[in-house]
């Protein structure tokens, strides 16, 4: 099942065109102390803020069953690394690209939710994350101590990859960060916006009781994404069966 193929293609073009792009193989054995689940970084302890509410921020999770569409085990940074930042705040884009298996109309929504919420399980000392899936925003802070000890894009990306690799149906993970400019993050937002609509359509399908497609805000998205149509048909069948016994 594929929902995000178009977005992944567009993302590839954006990444390939980026001038200040660096990639590293992830180190899944990377060691970083845990924060004990309490990872608030206050301004007075903060060295760097990423994607704060005052600047651009995009966070996106895309999956595909075609592993050739991703570069598994790679962390890519477009823009200055956290350790190279000269300011206290940077625009921030984060894309988690997953190669998965066994996704179907029956499980895609639940699995996508679980994968999206997995980001909150990342527990790195001196790293704070606040995110709003609905708005595809992610706001992170890195403490002075963490930055001094070397919390870099490579460490963060490798830790995220290790986290997602624990999920049985995830076969490969690639991470792409953007800190280059407000313009680039905004462009990333434009490119990944269709994936946000697809997720919103899945949320609506999962929560609604009837399937009145003629007046639905997501009609166009469902019309375009084959997988969504399949999900909707499956949910409608299930709904009919429960009504008619």
């Amino acid at each position: 099942m594929e929902l995000f193929a178009g977005t992944i293609d567009a993302l590839r073009i954006l990444v390939e065109a980026a001038a200040c792009r660096r990639s590293w193989p992830a180190d899944e054995k990377v060691q970083w102390p845990c924060g004990g689940g309490r990872n608030i970084v206050f301004k007075e302890d903060m060295a760097l803020e990423l994607g704060s509410p005052e600047t651009e921020s995009v966070s996106c999770l895309l999956w595909t069953e075609d592993i050739s569409c991703i570069d598994p085990g790679t962390v890519t940074m477009i823009g200055p690394d956290f350790t190279e930042s000269h300011g206290r705040s940077l625009p921030f884009g984060k894309v988690v690209l997953l190669a998965v298996e066994g996704f179907s109309e029956d499980n895609a929504y639940e699995r996508h939710r679980d994968l999206d919420l997995l980001r909150y399980d990342l527990d790195l000392k001196g790293f704070m994350i606040r995110a709003v899936s609905q708005h595809m925003r992610e706001w992170c802070r890195i403490s002075r101590d963490a930055l001094a000890q070397g919390l870099s894009a490579h460490v963060l990306g490798s830790s995220i990859i290790r986290l997602y690799r624990k999920t049985p149906y995830v076969k490969g993970v690639e991470i792409i960060f953007f800190t280059s400019s407000v313009h680039d993050v905004r462009r990333l937002g434009e490119i990944t916006a269709p994936s946000g609509l697809i997720v919103a359509a899945m949320n609506k399908m999962a929560s609604e009781m009837d399937f009145e497609c003629s007046s639905c805000d997501y009609r166009a998205v469902c019309g375009e994404a084959e997988g969504l149509k399949g999900m909707r048909d499956r949910l409608m069948d299930r709904s009919r069966r429960s009504v008619h016994g």
Binding site: R38, F42, K43, E44, R130, A131, S133, Q134
Partner: protein
């Protein structure tokens, strides 16, 4: 939240709750290394003003926005909603030199959304756990604090002037807190404000069972700061009222003397 000490400051309107709360913040933030959270639970956001902060967003703004989304059918599942509220509450936190402030805003008035209120209370409680000391400047009664901010506080600090009305409200709050279990607390006591002399305090001490944490005399400088709309954080170190507040905080048990 094991190490976080939570103070709730309550009392009749106009007795000086907000001024005393700001003086407490002023004293606490001068102790380096302590993380202080001031929660302005008064709809008029008087504490924020006294601390020189213009509030951008209140918890109630967040609540109303979410309820609007629910009504439009745009809300997501529980876990996503919790994360959304967490993001928004952290964004509403005003971080300043030595302390942070969270304004609660107006009481809810758009029907019952108990789940949203409950989630918000959980998030505020969780956030509070990252601070050493939390100081809540409440409305007159304690029920609002329970309903809108927190179920448990360590120290319930009742503020009164020397008037019979002020003391009556303080005693009424103490009864609601103790007998009706409006809030869980470990200790409760009284601070007397605008006292003329020691004899007035002794007189009141003889008429109350509440322990008296301390008293503050009428202070021309505070009156002048209020008159000019200056933040009490700017009060000079040598101000005698700060020394009184420091002693009270030590008696309450949140500050070493």
């Amino acid at each position: 939240m094991a190490d976080t000490k939570i103070l709730a400051v309550c009392g009749k309107g106009g007795v000086g709750k907000t001024s005393i709360s700001s003086l407490m913040v002023r004293m606490l933030r001068s102790r380096s290394g302590l993380k202080i959270l001031a929660i302005d639970a008064d709809p008029a956001v008087g504490l924020a003003t006294a601390l020189g902060i213009r509030v951008r967003k209140t918890v109630d703004d967040i609540r109303k926005s979410l309820i609007g989304d629910i009504r439009k059918g745009e809300a997501q599942g529980g876990r996503e909603t919790l994360r959304l509220l967490d993001y928004e509450v952290f964004d509403a936190l005003e971080e300043r030199d030595g302390f942070s402030l969270l304004a609660i805003g107006r009481p809810e008035d758009e029907g019952c959304f108990c789940k949203v209120n409950s989630l918000l209370k959980d998030i505020i409680g969780d956030l509070a756990g990252s601070f050493d000391i939390v100081l809540i400047d409440g409305e007159a009664g304690i029920e609002q604090i329970n309903r809108r901010v927190m179920k448990t506080v360590d120290h319930l600090v009742l503020i009164s002037d020397t008037s019979v009305k002020g003391l009556g409200v303080a005693h009424a709050i103490s009864r609601v807190a103790s007998e009706k279990k409006a809030v869980d607390f470990k200790s409760m006591g009284l601070i007397l404000n605008r006292v003329r002399n020691r004899a007035e305090t002794d007189d009141i001490r003889a008429r109350t069972r509440l322990p008296i944490y301390g008293w503050i005399t009428e202070d021309e400088l505070i009156r002048d700061f209020d008159f000019r709309g200056r933040s009490l954080l700017e009060l000079p170190d040598a101000s005698p009222v700060l020394s009184s507040v420091s002693d009270m905080l030590a008696r309450i048990g949140v500050l070493q003397g």
